[in-house]
């Protein structure tokens, strides 16, 4: 079969197991993000990284297993990006320090949403209808994230720093407002002529979210990233 010398015409190379797995994962994220689970094609996922469609069933069990693995991978990246933003225990935490930390978390989330729009694209696709995938993703990955935000928001509201918004509502206002420009970056470019992934755009966006959600916090605009 294919030992390098064998394939003068084909550029396709034999890659290490971890390399091809990660390449397929990242390609899958792009495809699932752009087309949703049903619209995604395993053939085009493979082609994007110069692999063959059956390699997906070899390295993963099925299209569904590939989806699960890629979502795990992506939430792992989110966890790294947000690691340590909020204190682990809130008892006795100074509300102003918590507010500053929350503002930092908003900035990091905006940056993550811009760099990995696939996360919110996939969440938006899956959230439109009940399914086993939605249930799994919500309970496994979203709930811990949600609970952390709820606990911090409660402290900030009691302290009068946060806008007077119910926690459940705040969560969707925040996620929707923070992610839509990156989820729909192609539309933003068509409609406004600007690129939301420019650092000035991201900074202005994050500063705006901090300002409207934490009106009690003295304004300290800063760049994202």
């Amino acid at each position: 079969m294919e030992r390098k010398g064998d394939v003068p015409n084909k550029v396709r190379l034999r890659r290490a197991r971890a390399d091809i797995r990660e390449a397929l994962l990242e390609s899958a994220l792009v495809e699932f993000g752009a087309k949703g689970f049903d619209g995604a094609s395993t053939r085009s996922i493979a082609q994007r990284v110069e692999a063959h469609q059956p390699q997906i069933n070899y390295h993963f069990e099925s299209k569904e297993a590939l989806w699960t693995a890629s979502v795990d991978y992506l939430f792992g990246l989110l966890g790294e990006a947000l690691e340590g933003v909020l204190p682990a225990a809130l008892a006795g935490v100074d509300a102003w320090e918590l507010a500053a930390a929350f503002a930092g978390g908003i900035r990091r989330f905006v940056q993550f949403a811009a760099e990995h729009p696939e996360l919110n694209q996939i969440m938006v696709h899956e959230g439109t209808a009940n399914s086993a995938r939605l249930e799994w993703m919500t309970e496994t990955h979203v709930r811990p994230f949600f609970d952390g935000i709820m606990a911090a928001w409660h402290v900030l509201r009691v302290a009068g720093i946060a806008a007077p918004i119910d926690g459940g509502i705040l969560y969707y206002v925040l996620i929707g407002a923070a992610s839509l420009p990156y989820v729909n970056a192609p539309e933003v470019r068509l409609l406004t002529g600007r690129n939301p992934r420019d650092s000035e755009w991201m900074s202005a966006h994050a500063n705006a979210l901090v300002a409207i959600l934490l009106p009690g916090l003295p304004r300290t605009d800063r760049p994202v990233g």
Copy 2:
């Protein structure tokens, strides 16, 4: 036409042309909203309204034409829902009256997003990648809407009523924050146990958006709908 005696075994009825067209349009909106264009199946669109798949190609030219017709239909409904919210010409308009009108527009938009989540579901699906569909939808339907918001927002910012946010950013913050709970209503129910389409939820949501986006406007909470 429909004579009952013709179909003793089959419940399926011969419907008036306009009826079956509208039934297919509304079914298409649900399907396109939930699965995106590529993931949507014309068979399941037809089945949802007890029609046969070839009827789609009879009443519409193709899957693509069905998509276009359903998006036209939906933006028509949005236009009706928002008719007259903002004054046609802004020159000489009192800023406080405009702010009250803008707040009313936010409330109507929230209500529309809750009642027709398909609109923002479809926009979010299409906005993730460049395509002829995205270009057409943006230029035909989104731009007039966008331009109206930009013009009003400029007046409100100059008057110091609006939050100090750039118009392009405001647009996506507003649309994202106003629509996500309804776009992802199944996720909201799983995660929070609450139904975002309850009138109390919608009212609290709309009031929160008005409060954070128009901080200069004296707070006058009111129910939506």
